[in-house]
């Protein structure tokens, strides 16, 4: 019959089977076992189970262990000594980059190409068309730059310096809207020069009064600039300045001022 304190003694039996009981504890356990049939049965069961467990047959037969050994060997040391083909990582990366660069060039055009003016034509209706090599961002243009006719007329005087010095043709210049007056490199007119000493300046040869250059408007239409004149063009050669702010495909800003020389239907352009 199981007593109330038998749980304690069952625990002691378990320790005794593992030789974990001191001599005093073993004596006390023996005294309890002499008077408790339940705990004696538990001890017999525990001991029998211990005997059966310790004598369980081996499950690992030599063939199975040899096969397992081969599996492990293949995955460890044999794999370690197996020659390995050199990985073609860097050549593959270089080839991929080259292919991407070529595809980008085909798709977007030459990546190294900078925005540039490729052609200038005179269009009907007093218009001048500046054609660029690629479409421009609309925000990169100054919008519409209108040069008032008065400013063009004031500069419409013979020039004694600057890039076109020595020519007898009348000149006109255009500029950005913010500055009002066009910016152009030139010397002041002779009548406005300061006078040093008393002498009579040599009279300049008489020249015909050039016709005034009409004011003009610069506007953007796609990948071209259109310069529209407010009035008829003079017959003689004249030049205007067309300011533009370009952006390349990487977003870098490129400021350009084009000097356009117009002479009776022919147009030439210089970059300032």
């Amino acid at each position: 019959m199981r007593l109330a304190g038998c749980t304690y003694w069952e625990y002691q039996i378990s320790l005794d089977l593992d030789d974990e009981l001191a001599v005093d504890g073993r004596d006390a356990l023996d005294r309890h076992l002499n008077g408790c049939a339940h705990c004696r049965g538990v001890r017999e069961t525990f001991a029998a189970a211990s005997g059966v467990l310790s004598s369980l047959p081996d499950l690992a037969d030599p063939g199975l262990l040899a096969a397992l050994h081969d599996d492990i060997w293949v995955k460890t040391y044999r794999a370690r000594h197996k020659p390995k083909r050199r990985r073609l990582v860097w050549p593959a990366v270089a080839a991929a980059l080259l292919a991407a660069f070529a595809a980008a060039n085909l798709w977007l055009g030459p990546l190294w190409q900078r925005p540039a003016l490729v052609a200038v034509t005179l269009a009907p209706g007093n218009c001048l068309e500046l054609i660029f090599n690629q479409s421009m961002d609309s925000t990169s243009w100054p919008g519409t730059a209108t040069v008032p006719a008065s400013a063009a007329g004031r500069l419409n005087a013979p020039m004694t310096g600057g890039p076109s010095a020595g020519t007898a043709a009348p000149f006109a210049a255009g500029g950005s809207q913010t500055q009002g007056a066009p910016q152009m490199s030139h010397a002041p007119a002779m009548e406005n020069s300061p006078v040093f000493g008393t002498f009579s300046p040599k009279a300049a040869p008489a020249q015909p009064t050039p016709a005034p250059v009409p004011s003009y408007t610069v506007s953007r239409q796609g990948d071209q600039l259109v310069v529209s004149f407010a009035g008829p063009l003079p017959k003689g050669p004249f030049q205007i300045l067309v300011p533009a702010t370009l952006r390349d495909r990487w977003g870098r800003k490129l400021g350009r001022t084009y000097l356009v020389v117009i002479d009776q239907g022919s147009v030439a352009v210089k970059t300032q």
């Binding site: 467990l53 397992l68 040391y77």
Partner: protein, 175 residues
């Protein structure tokens, strides 16, 4: 074609690894097979030795290291499967003496079958503790190192496993 060796270091030489395998693989396979079954034991023992191969530094004591890894693999396996292992019939003892009484042999096989059935009904942690203690003669300290519990916990859990086996055997006897 240019070739190169794999460069990662291993903790053991080939001979050392071979000796470890020959020394501990049979016992480890027995321990694992009684926890998860023979088929799964093959995979888990293989995984245990592969982890030993990949470990960067050699463990101080190989046996507890191997058993600890195998024990954790078995516990993880039980958590995934939630199924009792299928013990092969060949685990039952064969008649040792051809001239023995067939009735005695039959009764012995029946008793062993009942014992194994009761043993299979124990939780895997209890089975592992009993196997380590009774079959592999591991000390409490070694069992604690393998299972990751304290020595006091080993004492009490071993008692609980024995008591559970005692109850399971009583149930099997009553069937």
């Amino acid at each position: 074609m240019r070739c190169r060796q794999r460069k990662h270091a291993v903790a053991f030489s080939e001979d050392e690894f071979e000796n470890i395998y020959r020394t501990w693989a049979p016992a480890l396979f027995n321990f694992t097979a009684r926890l998860v079954g023979r088929q799964e034991a093959r995979d888990l023992v293989q995984e245990t030795f592969l982890r030993l191969f990949r470990t960067p530094a050699p463990p101080d004591r190989v046996k507890p290291w191997l058993y600890r890894v195998a024990y954790r693999l078995c516990i993880d396996h039980h958590r995934r499967k939630k199924a009792a292992p299928a013990h092969p019939v060949s685990e039952l003892p064969e008649p040792g003496d051809p001239g023995a009484n067939p009735e005695t042999v039959y009764l012995a096989r029946e008793a062993m079958a009942r014992f194994l059935a009761a043993f299979r009904n124990l939780p895997p942690e209890g089975r592992a503790l009993l196997l380590l203690r009774e079959k592999d003669n591991a000390s409490y300290r070694e069992i604690a190192a393998i299972t990751g519990i304290t020595v006091e916990a080993v004492r009490s859990r071993l008692y609980r496993a024995r008591a559970a086996l005692h109850r399971a055997l009583a149930i099997e006897e009553a069937k």
